[in-house]
């Protein structure tokens, strides 16, 4: 786990009530507000940075400053307070806030040091630059599609880390290894893996491989849904995102 992005502790630590995160970001209680902001930043900073880099064609140094400043100003000035789930999904709202912020910054031709100067957040931009170089979907994508894809990437990556932790904590390392080999590495492998070859590789019966994979996938799905609940603006938006991600209803 890269602790640079672990700003407010794991999202699971946030009160587990449904879709409260976005509302909590506008809370009158500074402690609640800060914790909500940290969790939102953890979920959104990478998509925001990549979005500024790719869609606003910003130099990486400028994109770093803009990302830092965006979240600093968003927390300070309550950018997310006017969010109305009836009008847009939260992800789209964030993207529009970024667009407005970057446009304003460029108009004012101000650069550094937004948000009171200095880096408020410890974010691993070098790693994200590395990711951007490996990505094939950046160029030419629709802005909203690109932002969504990056948001999904971040959501799934965080859920994979949760899964790794949970499997390690419950003695199910083999479940995770199979999941990692087949579901994480498999799609990029030059030769398509089969359950039979995986069973041979791990010295397990094929039924055990499929059962372990089913367990890991089920847990992965649950962890994605848990994270999704905290970063969507309403129950309807949450269900809609589940449909778009998995093509099925919430279970």
């Amino acid at each position: 786990m890269d602790h640079d992005t672990d700003l407010g502790g794991p999202a699971a630590a946030f009160p587990a009530t449904r879709c409260t995160l976005v509302r909590a970001a506008g809370s009158a209680d500074p402690a609640v507000r800060r914790q909500a902001a940290e969790t939102l930043i953890a979920a959104y900073w990478k998509p925001v940075y990549k979005y500024i880099r790719v869609k606003w064609r910003s130099h990486n140094e400028d994109a770093k400053d803009l990302t830092q400043a965006f979240f600093a100003v968003a927390v300070e000035k309550g950018f997310f307070d006017p969010f109305d789930p009836a009008k847009a999904r939260f992800r789209t709202f964030v993207r529009l806030c970024v667009d407005g912020f970057v446009a304003n910054e460029r108009r004012a031709n101000t650069r550094l040091k937004r948000g009171g100067g200095g880096e408020l957040l410890s974010l691993d931009f070098a790693a994200v630059e590395g990711e951007l170089r490996r990505q094939e979907s950046a160029a030419g994508a629709d802005p909203d599609d690109f932002f969504r894809q990056e948001w999904v990437r971040e959501l799934f990556a965080a859920a994979v880390d949760d899964l790794r932790r949970q499997c390690a904590g419950s003695g199910k390392e083999l479940h995770f290894k199979l999941f990692e080999r087949y579901d994480l590495d498999g799609p990029d492998a030059a030769e398509k893996l089969s359950y039979a070859s995986l069973a041979e590789e791990f010295g397990l019966p094929q039924t055990q491989v499929t059962n372990y994979l089913a367990f890991a996938r089920r847990l992965f799905r649950r962890l994605v849904l848990e994270r999704l609940r905290t970063t969507t603006g309403s129950e309807d938006e949450f269900r809609d995102e589940v449909w778009r991600l998995f093509g099925g209803d919430v279970r």
Binding site: R153, N211, V224, G248
Partner: protein, 319 residues
Amino acid sequence: MSWLSDATLLHLCRVADWPDLTGTRYDCVDKIGQGGMGAVFLARDRELDRQVALKVLSAAPDDADAKARMVAEARLTARLEHPGIVPVHDAGVLPDGRFYYAMKLVRGKRLDEQVSRTTALAERLQPFQKMCDAVAFAHAHGIVHRDLKPQNVMVGPFGEVLVLDWGAAREIGPRADAAVVGTPGYMAPEQATANVAVVDARADVYAVGGILYFLLTGRPPAYGPGAVLARPRQFDRAIPRPLEAICLKALAPDPGRRYADVADLAADVADFLARRRVRAYPEKPFEVVLRLATTYRTVLTLLLAYLLIRILLLVFFRS
């Protein structure tokens, strides 16, 4: 934190929705469809080493109504043992409580993908006739499909035809819990209105008429308030009048003016293909002569040739 490629994201979206088949005889291979009620997965039956299609309820396991509807669908489909209706092999409950059933994996193309306007008319009507046989069989067993459309008819590589998705099917007869189901364009007017409780086999006749209309014109019948149904020959003058008449009789807004059931409709199409008189089309005298001449073309040709030879011989010997 792990970085996930686009291919991995896509794969995870797919597999995270796969059902947990622990304790069953199936391994999930891929997701192949998503309907309103359930998702369909390609699975491997380990016991028989064959591929099957698994339909799994999409709704939460505690949604008793959804589960009851899918159980009814599985039982009803299993009852209809006919070569034109997809056979159900097995049913059960997944570890997460969701109902599923296994059925034959149907390979081939949907009727709307399989035929085009360039396909010969007789070739277009061949799967149509087979589909009618399957629907007529269901009607004979007191079942009405209620969602027939080209997308629900699969044509296999060897010409086999299967009618799919019996999720909206029910027993013929008045029902208090009737709900509006069907697809615009193929849904009979009484099926889309307050008369839904008395929907019978003639609703399927309308839908089958809609499929015939699609096969003739390449488009579904017009639907919606104020929509006027264009005659198929308005799109293509080559469409035979009797076939147009069969289509329009099946699509009559008043159920009383349609064929009584799909078997009747299929019989009329069979008569058309055999160049016999069709009941839906009152022929004019010259059309009768033309049809008979076309039907008995070989006999007439031989007769004329015989007469010609006799005349030539007569002339030759007299001279």
